[in-house]
Symmetry: C2
Subunit: 608 residues, 2 copies
Amino acid sequence: MNDMSKLSPDQMVSTARFETTRWVDDLNAALAAKDALAASSLFATTSFWRDLIAFTWNLKTVENPEGIADMLTATLPHLDAVHFTIAQEPTEADGIITAWLSLETGHGRGEAVVRLREGKAWTFLTTLVELKGHEEHSGPTRIMGAEHGVVRGRKSWPERKADEAATLGITEQPYVLIIGGGQGGIALGARMRQLGVSHIVIDSHDRPGDQWRGRYKSLCLHDPVWYDHLPYLDFPKNWPVFAPKDKIGDWLEMYTKVMEVNYWSKTLACKAAFDEEAGHWSVTVIRDGKEITLHPTQLVLATGMSGKPNIPRIPGAETFLGEQHHSSKHPGPDAYAGKKVVVIGANNSAHDICAALWEAGADVTMVQRSSTHILRSDTMTEEVLGDLYSERALANGVTTRMADLTFASIPYKVMPEFHIPLYERIQRKDAAFYDALRKAGFMLDFGADGSGLFLKYLRRGSGYYIDVGASDLVIDGSIKLKSGVEIDCITQTGVRFADGSELPADLIVYATGYGSMNGWAADLISQDVADKVGKVWGLGSDTPKDPGPWEGEERNMWKPTQQQNLWFHGGNLHQSRHYSLYLALQLKARMEGIPTPVYGLQQVHHLS
Amino acid sequence: MNDMSKLSPDQMVSTARFETTRWVDDLNAALAAKDALAASSLFATTSFWRDLIAFTWNLKTVENPEGIADMLTATLPHLDAVHFTIAQEPTEADGIITAWLSLETGHGRGEAVVRLREGKAWTFLTTLVELKGHEEHSGPTRIMGAEHGVVRGRKSWPERKADEAATLGITEQPYVLIIGGGQGGIALGARMRQLGVSHIVIDSHDRPGDQWRGRYKSLCLHDPVWYDHLPYLDFPKNWPVFAPKDKIGDWLEMYTKVMEVNYWSKTLACKAAFDEEAGHWSVTVIRDGKEITLHPTQLVLATGMSGKPNIPRIPGAETFLGEQHHSSKHPGPDAYAGKKVVVIGANNSAHDICAALWEAGADVTMVQRSSTHILRSDTMTEEVLGDLYSERALANGVTTRMADLTFASIPYKVMPEFHIPLYERIQRKDAAFYDALRKAGFMLDFGADGSGLFLKYLRRGSGYYIDVGASDLVIDGSIKLKSGVEIDCITQTGVRFADGSELPADLIVYATGYGSMNGWAADLISQDVADKVGKVWGLGSDTPKDPGPWEGEERNMWKPTQQQNLWFHGGNLHQSRHYSLYLALQLKARMEGIPTPVYGLQQVHHLS
C-alpha cells in the first residue's frame, strides 16, 4: 500500500480492489458452475451470509462454509445467471476489506456488501431490489401522467381513482390485504401501489396518522429524522430532528394520500380464515359500520410489532376504586393535575408518561420491577446513529439506502461485537449521568451482554428508555421511584408492596408492554394458526424475553411463515422503510407467478 | 489551454479561473472602495447586472456601465462588506467564461453568476438568499422538535398550533396577509413559516388544491415535474412527469399542512384599505360566513398572474339562448356529449377544452381570432427545458436551485438571443407537424421576434398552446377550426362571422384569457390604487399585449410597487418556487426593521 500510494489514482489498483476482484471472480465462477462447495470455500471458518430474498426467497442468515454450502445446494438449482460486480471502490480498515457489489440474477437485480478478511468472506449481505420486467417507475422511468394524444372515452385520473374506490373490495378483490395502517402498513401500501399490486390497507382509526395522534401529548419521536424516512419521499430539510407525534400523524396522512395508498379508515377486522382449496383468505371487516367480506390472496398483519397490550394480573386490581389503564390507552396528563398517579413500569412509555404527568402537576411515582437500559437521546443520535443517519453521514456521502444496507450487512450474531465496545465508551462518556441514576435507586442495565439499545430492541422490543429528559426528574426526585420491591397487591386505594409499604393512587397506569404479534393472529384467525406460526419478533438470543435457540433473523417478520399466505410487517420507521421493500417484492413475485422457492422456512420453538 | 491540459488537475489553473479571479478581485476592490465607476468599468459596453434584492432591495436589471454606475452610486452607501468569492470551478465555452460566485454583504449571503467576455462582464446576476441572524433552520441547523428536558407548563406542538389558530387574525394580527391560496400563496406561506413571519393565507375555496381540482377534467400540468417543485419539498421520484390536476391538488393540500401554512379556506376578501398613519392595512374578509377585519402590515395579492377573467364584449351575447361561460368556469365536457360547442380562443385552455369536449363526443369548433404559438410538449421538455430541468440535468449535477439561477442569470433583454436559434431548430425538427397545422388553416406564430414560448409567457402570459394532443385533432378536423374571420355577433342560436357564415351552438366557451392582476387591486382596494401601481406582468418588450417602454423586469411582480406595503406574487410553479424566496426575504427584512432602501422603484407607464 505504501509504495502504491505514490502512484496517481488512475494507475493505482488498491490491494482492496485487487482482493475484492479476485474474490468476486471466484464467487461468480463457482456460482456459474453451480458448485456450492467451491462457493462456500470462499468463506471464512466463522462467516455469515445474510440473504434478503435474493437467493433464498426468505430473510435468512446462514453461518460458516457448511451452512453456506447447504443454502447454495438448495438454491442454486433454481437460480440462473447469478453475477456480482464491484459497484464502488472497495475500502480497507483494520484488516477488513469492505466492498459494495451489484447483483444480477435471472429474475432480478440487487445489491450486496461483503467484508473480506485474509482473502475470505467474513460477512456477506445479498439483497434483491427489483424484479426484471417489474421494475418500479421512478426517476428516468417515471410515468408520464398526462397521456399525450387524445383518446375518446379515456378516463381521467380522478375517474380512475373513483372507479378503483368503487370496485376494490366490492366487485374486485385486492391481491393483498394489510391489516393495520400505521407507518408499517402505509409504507407497504405505498410500495404495493408503486409495484402495481392491488391492495387495501385497513385501520380502525378515523384518519391515517391517528395511531400517533392518539398517544400521550408530549410524545415526540425518540429516533432522529435521518433514521425515519418513509419509502420514496424523504422528510424535508426543514423537518425537526425529533418530530412531535401530531406532526408525524399529519405526515403519514398526507403520505397515504399522495402515494395513493388504498386506505380504508374506520374499518375493523373481525375474522379471517384461509381457504386452502381456493388459495385465498376470507376476511370479515366492518367498514364504517357495514360488514364486508374480503377475499385477498395474501394477508399481512401490520398491527404493530408491539402486539397486544400486556397487563399483568395483580391481585386486587379489580377492587381498585380509582382509574386504571394500560399505557396505550393513557389520554395524557391534563386531567391528573394534583392527582396521585402510580405508573407501573420503567421503560420508554413509563418515563414519557411520568414526565408529562409531572409537568402537568401530578404527584407521580414510577414502579420499577426490573432493571432498565437507559440511553441519552443525544448520545444515541451522536454515538450510535451518527455514522449512518445524520447530517454528518449525508455530508460524507452516506445516503439513507447505503446506511440501511450497511446496518443490514452486520449479521445479528456479530452485532454485539460491534456494540459492546460502543456501549463501554458510552458508559464512560455519560458516567456522571448513570451514577446519579444509580444513586437515585434506579436499576440500570446495558443488556444481558452489555450490547445496549439496538440489541435489546431486536431481541425483545422492550427494556429501555431513550432519555429525553425524564431521567433527570428521576434523579432529582421529581418523579418518585419505587424500585426493587415486588408488588404485593392492589387495594381499593392504591398499590401495596412486599415490604408492607403502600402507595395511594387516583390513577394506576400499566406501562407494562405488549405481547407477541401472533396474539393478533389468535384473535383474528385462530389460536391454532397463532400457534402454528409461533412467536413473532426476537432473535433467539437466549437473553431475557428472547429464548433460544438462535434464529439468525427476527422471528416471522417480513418473510414467509408456517401459515401459507400470512405475513407480519412492522417495526420502527427505519424497519418499516427498509424491510417493506423485501416484503413487497415477495408479494409482487407471488402475484406475478414468479417461482419463489423458500429456503429454510423457520421452525417454531415458542408459541408466544 | 492546450499546454495546461497536460498538467495534472491540481497543478492547472485554468484560463477561466485565472480570468474570473482577476475580475472578482477587481470587483471586490472597487466595491470595498465604494467606487461605483471603477466597478462599472469591469462591465462590457453592452452588459447587464440583474439584481434580486442583494444590492437594490428590488428585482432590477440595469444595463451597461452607465446604468451599473448609477445603481452602485445609489446603493453602495448603504452596503457594507460586500465580498464575492468563486464558488465553483469556472467554465469556458464559445469565448464566454461562466462563473458561480458566493456573495456576502453586511446583512446577508447570496449567490451570483457572471458571464465574462474578453475580461469584462457581459451578464451578472446577484441574489440574496438569507439574512444574517435570520437564517432558515434547515439540514444541519434544523430545529430539534422535541425539546429535551422536561419543563412544567410547556405546551406541546398541537397545543401551540391550536393557540396560534385561536389567536391569529383575532387577537393577534398577522404581519403578512396573502390573498389567494394557490401554488403562489402556498409557497410564500411555507417560506413565511420557515422565516418566522406571522402570516395568514386566505382563499375562497373549500380546500387547498381546489384551485386545480375545479378546472376541466382532462387538465394535466403542461410543464414537466422537474420544473415544478415547491420550496423545501421536491416531488418524489415516482411522481409522474405531467401530473393530473387532482393529483397536484392533493399535493398542494398536503404541502400546506406539513409546511404548517396558516391557511384560511372558505374565506373571501371583500375590501382592503391602507392606513398610512397606522402603517397597516384594514382588510375585511368573510370567513366561513363570518365577517372579520384583519390588520396586516403587508398585503400580498397572490390571486393568479392571470388576473380576472377577460370576456370580450360581443354584440348579441346577451341574447344567446344557450349556455355561455368563461373557460375558468368551464365544468368539463361530461354534460356536452352530442352538443354543439363553440370555443372562442386558440390558446392553452381553448385547446384543452376542445380536446376534452371532442373526447366526450361533442361537436366542437375552435374560433381562432389571432395567431397562436404552438410548441409540442415533448419538444419543450427535451429541447427547451432539458438542459436545466430533467433527469438528464440531474444526472449532470444540475440541481433545481442551479437551474433556477441559470435561468435567472439570462437577462430578459438577452433572452431572445438565446431562444431565437432554439426555436429555429425546433421549427426544422417539427416541420411536418407545423406544416400540417398550417394546412388545416391554423394561424401559427413563434412570437413577434421568433423567440418562442417563454418570451411570450414572460411578455404577455398568453398566446400559446403547449401541445399535448389537441393539435392532431385540429389537423385531422376532429376539432373544427374557424380561423381568420372576425366574429360579427352572437345570435340567439350561435355565432355569426363577418363572412356571413354562422355556427350554431348549444354552448359558447370564452377561452379569451385574463386581465392584468391589478384588476384584483381595483376590486379589492380601489381603482386609484390599481392605477397607482399600474399594469402587472410583462417586460415592456413593445410586442403585442406588452407595450413599451422597456422595463427590464416583470412589472410589479415579487417586488415593491408604487403602493406602500402592497405586493403581487404568482406565476407558474417554477416562478412560485423561485421568486417566493426574494419576496419572502423582502417581507422578513421589513418585519425585522432591517433597512431596505429600494433602488429604481418602477415607474408606471400603463394602467392595465
